[in-house]
Symmetry: C2
Subunit: 126 residues, 2 copies
């Protein structure tokens, strides 16, 4: 069980969940931005896997794909309003089959894709 | 001037600004989570410095401290709802005098500080 000291340090409030920056624990690469509430943080500590408990209805859910991510360490800013979630990521993190969700860059006035899919998303999510 | 293609790729909406993950461009370390609206992104591209235009009233503002951060590259997820802002950071990034804002970790049921200030915040912020 997670100690209440940890949950109490996170600034959950009436405005809803806090943002969770999901990063590879060994390289700091950002994989996705997700959102977590008190229940999802507690369940993550109790069980290890992160992907089922991060609320992010728009993209990079990770459910059902086998591309699991497991908690290595939770960090906080002093306000407890932003949570870097350091994870061990199995396979690709992005639902497009790419390594992460951030494969678009602003360059020379355009927004090109920087990376092609590493795997076809269909077998993961089909 | 920033090309409108970049601004149009970012999902600004009635819900307000999008989240901006400010990271060191060379190590991917998260420095702070901030928020940017259309005006702040356009001004960042026009002028280079990031810290004046990121809206984050709670912590890690960076104004007036000389601890500047300058845009190196803006990235996006495909939905344009989260912006990794890769920056060149001068000095410490956190207003507590630490390297970044995330110096607390959840460990063994406690939330200890992992890092001491590298500089005294008082001379930076008076």
């Amino acid at each position: 069980m997670i100690d209440s000291a940890i949950l109490d340090a996170i600034a959950f409030d009436a405005n809803g969940p806090v943002s969770a920056n999901v990063q590879r624990h060994d390289t700091s690469e950002m994989l996705t931005l997700a959102w977590m509430n008190r229940t999802s943080v507690a369940e993550m500590f109790a069980t290890g896997p992160v992907h089922n408990y991060i609320r992010n209805p728009l993209w990079c859910k990770g459910e059902s794909s086998g591309q699991t991510r497991t908690l290595v360490e939770l960090r906080l800013d002093r306000a407890g309003a932003t949570l870097p979630v350091l994870v061990e990521q199995t396979g690709v993190a992005g639902h497009t089959g790419r390594r992460d969700c951030f494969f678009v860059a602003a360059r020379d006035g355009e927004v090109p894709e920087m990376a092609a899919p590493l795997v076809l998303p269909a077998p993961l999510y089909g």
